[in-house]
């Protein structure tokens, strides 16, 4: 176990910049910044590694636990991440990713896949975080246009840690008690998961809601499939912006979509052909799972413009991304 208590220098615990590196069987505690960062690597395998901030959730903890960025062929498995003030397991701007059989708890985001292409996230446990599993795409970065992400066979339960991210970070806006949050990605399939006891919502699908100037960026979540999941209790402790919605008497469903299909960049409006498919999910509360669109067609609309509509979207066929295979 490597303790970084008393660390005086360096922005992370460990930094890896070489290709074909395997980390296995050790722990990193209390790094001042990120715990383990791997940058610009082809072939980074992290197995049975624990990263942790031992005082528990605290805004002064480092941002990321396991943090590959701009890497190809990323494998993170049977590892543990606890206490990160952003994401426990964070894969950013990478390609060809497997995240499996890990435990992420007491982080703001348990597992986050951001601005990345081709990721399989499966058989993980994400619990006691603010949000369990996040699939994000953000503007203004060298790699954007995140797509082809499969989230399956995970346990995403009881994510109830009050959001402790420093304000200004994108995850600071994640409502406490979110199971899965998909934001501004294309072709994300969420299936065969157990998603329960997340106080705000089990699955949230949203556009990127802030203003941006990046002309190559698409803020709309599109081609999203939510199927064959087992939903438990949710909506019992709505937080963040969605609490206000609840106070207006809108019951929060298992799957909540902001309804965004339009955005404007540089004054030019664009409309996306957005396909959202919700099918064959089961709920312990309601039998069939519940769905709600907030009916806000323009990305980033204030919630005061919500026109909630529970009509399920049409069942279209959206091809699932191929299984990710790590090459090297």
């Amino acid at each position: 176990m490597l303790s970084f208590d008393g660390q005086r220098r360096g922005a992370e615990g460990l930094l890896i910049t070489s290709d074909n590196v395997t980390l296995r069987g050790f722990g990193v505690e209390n790094a001042r910044g990120d715990a383990i960062k791997a940058r610009d690597c082809n072939g980074i395998h992290i197995r049975e590694v624990r990263v942790e901030w031992t005082r528990g959730p605290n805004p002064d903890n480092g941002a990321y636990g396991l943090y590959p960025v701009n890497c190809d062929n990323v494998l993170i498995e049977r590892s543990i991440a606890r206490g990160a003030s952003d994401a426990g397991i964070y894969v950013g701007q990478s390609r060809n990713i497997i995240v499996r059989e890990n435990t992420a708890e007491f982080n703001v985001a348990g597992i986050e896949i951001e601005n990345s292409f081709n990721a399989d996230v499966f058989r993980n446990t994400a619990t006691r975080n603010t949000g369990g599993i996040l699939v994000f795409d953000l503007p203004g970065l060298p790699q954007k246009g995140g797509h082809n992400v499969r989230v399956f066979e995970n346990r995403i339960v009881n994510n109830d840690t009050p959001n402790f991210a420093p304000a200004g970070n994108i995850v600071a806006g994640v409502p406490t008690g979110t199971g899965v949050l998909i934001m501004a990605n294309r072709n994300v399939h969420v299936f065969d998961n157990d998603i329960a006891d997340n106080g705000t919502v089990n699955v949230l699908i949203s556009a990127y809601r802030d203003s941006f100037e990046d002309r190559d960026y698409n803020p709309i979540a599109r081609d999203i499939v939510i199927r064959d999941n087992r939903f438990g209790n949710t909506g019992f402790a709505p937080a963040g912006d969605l609490a206000a919605l609840s106070q207006l008497g809108v019951a929060l469903p298992d799957v909540l979509w902001d309804g965004a299909t339009m955005f404007s960049v540089g004054g030019t409006p664009r409309t996306e052909n957005v396909r959202i498919v919700v099918r064959d999910n089961r709920s312990t509360r309601t039998g069939a799972s519940s769905f709600l669109s907030l009916g806000m067609p323009v990305a980033g609309s204030p919630l005061t413009e919500a026109a909630p509509d529970p009509t399920p979207p049409p069942l279209l066929d959206i091809a699932e991304p191929e299984q990710v295979r790590i090459r090297n």
């Binding site: 922005a11 990120d34 941002a63 701009n70 060298p142």
Partner: protein
């Protein structure tokens, strides 16, 4: 101006050396190309004296318009280009230096930084050597007696005490970088690369100098032009780019001076091929899009480095700009640059604050 220190020292030493007839010392070329680098700096023969204050012929002192802040350390820079070879001019980046080139930089503190020529203690001398297969970085650490500097590839920590320019007593552990840490800054697309010696930063007037030069020849000349006269640079166009001296308010606009500071202090990581390219921030002199400098750019992976602020630079609001917040921190999880300083660069902070405050 720091340059005058060199000139004065040189004059004294030249006059002293002139009294004794002997073959002039020369650089040990074999040491530069040796498979196993020498353990002692003196083996290279870059200096006539054990204390490395006086360079031999062919080892040329140089200065930069705007240097990187390193806790306010004095820096003495020299260039050695092997005889018969030349650096190739390049208007945009670091010059293309021939194999066998050595960039020599000594970090030092004066006991009282208000009198920077007295009681100067050398801490380390870093060599960047251009080998056939790329650059290598070799840190040599000075002993307490200041008589020899020894190779320390694993880095070192040196306790240092001095009085700073404001008269405050400073104690710090000077961190000599290990080989991996060198790459933290000197990394361009995975290759170890020098940072300072680009046309825009070398383009300055300085006192012409060099062993063998007559005192009567000492005059202000353009440093790059001087290099062409010495034969170590192929050309120095009159219209070569130039960054201002960041702290000289008469040199360029406030924005130019601020961007000169960012170029030297930040852009070695924050460029599209550098270690911080994933941040989306590009602080190079050649970048002209304000959002790329961080103007109204939201943080990505800043963590608590964001301090709760929305933008890297919020025009008119230095107190809400993440860039300034991170410059003013010494917390390893927050501070920028990530390495290479333990103190806050007060002058740099003041420059950035002024620039952001006046921005609209």
């Amino acid at each position: 101006m720091r340059w005058s220190i060199f000139a004065a020292l040189a004059l004294v030493v030249m006059l002293t050396a002139g009294a004794v007839a002997q073959a002039p010392p020369t650089v040990n070329v074999a040491a530069i190309s040796a498979e196993r680098p020498p353990q002692l700096l003196s083996v290279y023969g870059f200096f006539t004296d054990a204390g490395a204050r006086q360079p031999v012929a062919g080892v040329t002192p140089y200065d930069l318009n705007t240097p990187l802040y390193s806790d306010g350390a004095l820096k003495f820079r020299y260039l050695y280009v092997p005889p018969g070879a030349q650096a190739r001019y390049n208007p945009d980046g670091v010059f293309d230096f021939p194999v066998g080139t050595v960039l020599i930089k000594t970090f030092a503190f004066a006991a009282d930084m208000r009198r920077p020529t007295e009681n100067v203690r050398f801490l380390e001398t870093r060599l960047l050597i251009r080998r056939a297969d790329g650059w290598i970085a070799l840190p040599y650490v000075w002993n307490e007696e200041q008589t020899e500097a020894r190779l320390s590839p694993i880095g070192a920590q040196i306790p240092v005490s001095f009085t700073d320019e404001d008269g405050d007593a400073i104690n710090l552990d000077w961190a000599v970088p290990n080989r991996n840490q060198c790459k933290g800054c000197h990394d361009l697309a995975g290759e170890l690369t020098p940072i300072g010696p680009s046309a825009r930063n070398l383009n300055l007037e300085h006192m012409m100098y060099g062993p063998g030069r007559q005192v009567a020849e000492r005059m202000l000349v353009n440093q790059m032009h001087d290099w062409t006269v010495l034969g170590i640079l192929d050309q120095a166009p009159r219209d070569a780019p130039r960054v201002p001296q960041a702290y000289d308010a008469s040199d360029g606009t406030l924005e130019q001076r601020a961007r000169a500071y960012l170029d030297v202090n930040c852009a070695h990581c924050h460029n599209p091929r550098g270690p911080a390219h994933t941040s989306g921030l590009d602080l190079r002199w050649s970048q002209h899009e304000p959002i790329q400098w961080g103007v109204l750019k939201r943080p990505v992976a800043a963590g608590r480095g964001s301090a709760g602020y929305e933008f890297a630079i919020e025009p008119g609001h230095p107190e809400r700009s993440i860039l300034l917040y991170r410059m003013e921190s010494t917390d390893p999880g927050v501070m920028m640059p990530e390495t290479g300083r333990q103190l806050i660069d007060d002058r740099g902070v003041a420059l950035m604050r002024e620039w952001i405050a006046e921005m609209d």
